[in-house]
């Protein structure tokens, strides 16, 4: 199963969309020359994860912060990692899969 997204969909290096294929909200960011795709739902209570100025995935509902590299929680004793999707660049398109 794959989602195909045009690179031009990203505005300010980010794009959030609902994927019927994965039954998830996917949050796609372009950071340090890499595309990263995660589930946009904060695993706490489902708030919106978003890249902040410190390059962390941050949820404003309860101030949960996650490392963009290892996807682990930085400020609370939460052990699980964020759900990540694989991203493959194919020209102007991005192929997103689990």
């Amino acid at each position: 199963m794959k989602e195909i997204v045009k690179k031009s969909c990203l505005k300010n290096h980010e794009y959030r969309f609902i994927s019927k294929i994965f039954s998830d909200e996917i949050y796609l960011v372009f950071l340090d020359d890499n595309y990263i795709a995660i589930s946009g739902f904060c695993p706490h209570y489902g708030g919106p994860l978003k890249i902040n100025n410190n390059n962390e995935f941050h949820c404003y509902w309860h101030d949960w912060k996650f490392d963009v590299n290892n996807l682990s929680c930085k400020n609370y004793s939460y052990k699980n990692k964020l759900k990540k999707y694989n991203v493959i660049e194919k020209g102007d398109l991005l192929e997103i899969s689990l």
Binding site: I18, F22, S23, D24, E25, S39, F41, C42, P43, H44, Y45, G46, G47, P48, Y60, W61, H62, D63, Y76, S77, Y78, N80, L82, K83
Partner: protein, 186 residues
């Protein structure tokens, strides 16, 4: 002197999602501009006592208050706040399920005022209505998004899980939180 008034609104989320928002005390500090740091002094499955700081309307100043919530019959909620100058606010929040994803919320305010505040009665009602509206608008995206997340298979403290049955989510009190939650006294 006691003043009564009512505020009613409907929202396109389930009763349980509306209740979740009321009992999710962790968001107060981060979502609501009018709240400062909050700490839970006591809670069980029916009641919570929260020490918090709230902004005095139209000023940059914050004041300490005790914010209490009690679960009533039919999961309705009684909120009693004791604020400075002898003012006590009693608010009954009534949740009426209009549909699977539609809830009517009636707020019945009972304002207990020392007589000295009588000339300011209408200003106080206006302030509380404004306060209520600001809180409502700040909470709205949380409730609608949470309903959407649950409908898509979101599971608390886990994340997206298409096999989840949490769309049948039912509030159980107190809401679970991590041991290092900002609400826990350190």
């Amino acid at each position: 002197m006691i003043i009564n008034f009512k505020i009613s609104r409907t929202i396109n989320v389930s009763k349980n999602v509306a209740l979740w928002n009321t009992w999710d005390h962790e968001h107060l500090t981060f979502v609501h501009q009018q709240f400062g740091k909050s700490t839970i002094l006591y809670e069980d499955s029916n009641v919570v006592f929260i020490k918090t700081r709230v902004q005095i309307p139209y000023t940059p100043f914050f004041m300490n208050t005790i914010h209490t919530l009690t679960r009533l019959k039919n999961d309705n909620v009684l909120v009693i706040d004791s604020v400075p100058f002898g003012i006590i606010t009693k608010l009954k929040m009534e949740y009426i399920e209009l549909g699977k994803s539609k809830t009517l919320l009636n707020n019945y305010y009972e304002l207990h005022l020392p007589f000295i505040f009588y000339p300011f009665k209408s200003i106080l009602i206006k302030l509380i209505k404004k306060w209520n509206n600001v809180n409502w608008l700040e909470d709205l995206p949380l409730k609608t998004r949470r309903q959407q997340a649950l409908d898509m298979g979101f599971r608390d403290f886990y994340g997206n899980d298409p096999s989840s049955k949490d769309h049948l989510y039912k509030v159980k009190l107190p809401l679970p939180r991590l041991k290092d939650s900002i609400l826990n006294e350190k």
